[in-house]
Amino acid sequence: MSTSPATSSSLQTAGHSGPKKILVLGATSGIAEATCRIWAKQGARLFLVARNADKLAAVAADLKTRGASYVDTAAVDLDDTAQHPALLAHAVNSLTGMDVAYLAHGVLGDQPRAEQEFAHAAQILHTNFVAPVSLLTWLSNYCVQRHAGVLAVISSVAGDRGRKSNYLYGSSKAGLSAFLGGLRNRVDREGVTVLTIKPGPVRTAMTSAMKGSEKFADVNKVAQSIAAAIDKRKDTLYVPFQWQPILFVIRNIPERVFKKLNL
């Protein structure tokens, strides 16, 4: 836990007053979109980045309609790390500063294919690990300079232990989680918060009519937890919170037993 007081206004007193300035990377993902709706309602200033321009335009229109005081967008493929410095400088400039950077992009990949084709495995690692490291390098230095800011990053419960059904995705997220832990250790004393978000399976609006989807977490509740964890400047968030004890157990199953399980 960091030292700053746990209120939503703490973000606003960090360096300025007025609406929160938030940069969202992967803004068309379901969880990111739901979180942005909460911020839009609060009148935030948003800079949205995603690959597909049509989808981005629809999300931007929605957030503007719901009350965001400012919305700007850039349709960019975040795999292209060479573009990151220019993109981030432009975003911060457009927002006139930055209180929160929210990294929500990522790919699930195709595990069986990745087992056969290294190129595909490398692609998963690049999108889920290398690209975030590139973004966070720039972003953390920006925040350290200003002694303020929250870097909120979506990792996954899948990174807590490798399983045969998705260990490429899982290891990319494990790498990301470890990177975030180290980064936090470095920047916390500079007044910068790093939040590692570990969601379990999430139900979005489109699955709600289906039988069995009750077991998944509701995307809006997940988004509320994330927004609250950012406001409270938490370090780690399992959403829903029940995943924390479940993964505690999973992490502690002896390897001798674990390797025989079908997970």
């Binding site: 992967g26 068309t28 993902s29 379901g30 969880i31 990111a32 049509d54 989808k55 629809a58 999300v59 229109a61 929605d62 309609t65 719901r66 929500a104 992009h105 990522g106 790919v107 699930l108 990949g109 195709d110 692609q123 998963i124 999108t127 889920n128 979506i154 996954s156 995705y169 969601p199 399976p201 999430v202 139900r203 979005t204 609006a205 489109m206 699955t207 709600s208 009519a209 289906m210 039988k211 998944f216 995307v219």
Partner: protein
């Protein structure tokens, strides 16, 4: 590669039951989420057996089902694209629910122009069934307030439809049962309010004549609807409570609605709803209103959506499901027809838990296949008893036909092809606007047509 945070949205799965509100019939279908306006028709690539867009599945029967086909789930398209506070025109994607619209609009001082008895329906579903509300006599149907929408066809063509552009597709799609294409977004004319409150009045009546008197006296009141006791006979025959209201004109704080909490947790056992329990319920409802006349300031939620507080209350009807039977009978035979049908229901011994009576006005709908027409409409809820319910529905449908009326597809799973074609003689003309890739179990049933796909 699928993106992580939408994984959760299923990649198309086979054989997932999508339930309509009546939970009858149920058919396996493949679910395909349309999360973006650009997903259709690309999402259909390589698939067979036709498709049907669906919203919240709040239709009772099979207009939102397609046996063995592909259901296009639209609820991920739930973005609000623009709101003009001057004109009150909201532009939104078709999968947004009326509940989401209310959450957004009420705190800003706007309300839906027309609303059904549940807020858990989508904008697209409301247009495709051209739904009606308690204000039909002054406002007409939902479609009358939809100023424009985009219709996407499986050939990839996109049309803006309005009273001035592509009027033929505009008319065919309003009330078009999802068969003319996918509505991606629509513009809806909202109406200003100053309070969440409804100036409510409830009046007991005894028999259809008193109901008709009250209807005439209340023409100037915006919302009117009656609950009617269809379990009682003799001197209590067709007694009920006439409920009316207007948006309160006294300015008040427009707070957002709380979230619903109760969920009906299990399928009630089949014996829970029988003639005895239904009679008890109806008698209790009648006397809940102790005085012949009650006046109150009521929040809009219980006024419009008394049942929404209990999510999935349809489970109360048990595993077999329920079916509504809703007719509209023109004024000439409205009184006589309603009495005859209520007598037939009482005689059958089959219990209708909820019976709702209302007058339709003469504001025309822009939709060519719309259900409402001037006269009386009655909606009856029946738990399904395989051997008894369908013969009764068939008799009631024939009586409706003989009184010059028709049935509401959104509430139907029983009418025959011959009955439907008498009720909607314009169906063949409408069929010319059907998207060749789109069909529904309802459409196949009432036209006998499994179109070539």
């Amino acid at each position: 590669m699928p993106e992580t945070n939408s994984v959760q949205a299923p990649t198309p799965t086979l054989e997932v039951p999508f339930e309509s509100w009546g939970r009858y019939p149920t058919y396996p279908a493949r679910m395909i989420p349309l999360n973006w306006q650009t997903d259709f028709p690309a999402a259909l690539a390589g698939l067979h057996n036709g498709a049907l867009p669906v919203g919240m599945g709040r239709s009772y029967g099979d207009v939102c089902l397609l046996k063995g086909g592909n259901l296009l789930l639209t609820t991920g398209m739930d973005r609000l694209l623009h709101f003009d506070t001057e004109t009150g025109i909201l532009t939104a994607e078709a999968g947004v629910t009326l509940a989401q619209i209310l959450d957004f609009a009420v705190p800003r001082g706007f309300f839906l122009p027309v609303t059904p008895g549940t807020k858990y329906v989508t904008l697209g579903g409301a247009i495709a069934n051209d739904i009606h509300g308690k204000n039909h006599h002054v406002a007409g149907t939902f479609g009358a307030h939809v100023t424009e929408f985009e219709l996407v066809r499986s050939d990839g063509s996109r049309r803006i439809c309005s009273p001035t552009e592509n009027l033929d597709f505009y008319a065919a799609t309003i009330g078009g049962l999802g068969l003319t294409g996918v509505i991606t977004w629509a513009k809806l004319r909202m109406k200003p309010i100053v309070s969440r409150g409804i100036d409510y009045e409830g009046i007991q009546f005894h028999g259809i004549d008193e109901f008709l008197d009250l209807t005439r006296q209340s023409e100037h009141i915006e919302y009117t609807v009656s609950w009617i006791d269809c379990a009682s006979t003799g001197k209590n025959f067709a007694r009920g409570v006439f409920m009316q209201g207007d948006h309160s004109k006294v300015p008040a704080e427009l707070k957002p609605s709380p979230e619903p909490k109760l969920v009906f947790p299990f399928d009630a056992p089949g014996f829970a709803l029988n003639h005895a329990t239904v009679s008890l319920f109806n008698t209790a409802f009648f006397h809940k209103q102790l005085k012949p006349r009650v006046v109150a300031l009521q929040d809009y939620e219980p006024f419009f959506y008394p049942l929404d507080k209990v999510l999935h209350w349809n489970r109360m009807y048990g595993k077999n499901g329920l079916l509504q039977f809703q007719y509209a009978i023109p004024w000439e035979s409205a009184r006589e027809g309603t009495i005859a049908i209520l007598q037939e229901v009482a005689k059958s011994g089959l219990a209708s838990f909820l019976a709702v009576l209302k007058a339709f006005g003469d504001v025309p709908s822009p939709g060519m296949m719309s259900f409402p027409q001037p006269g009386i409409t009655l909606a009856l809820d029946f738990p399904i008893k395989a051997d008894k319910s369908f013969p009764l529905f068939e008799r009631l449908a024939d009586m409706t036909r003989d009184f010059g009326g028709k049935l509401y597809p959104a509430k139907d799973a029983a009418m025959t092809a011959a009955q439907y074609q008498t009720f909607y003689p314009q169906w063949e003309q409408f069929a010319r606007y059907r998207d060749p890739m789109l069909t529904s179990s309802f459409w196949e049933r009432v036209t006998g047509d499994r179109p070539t796909l």
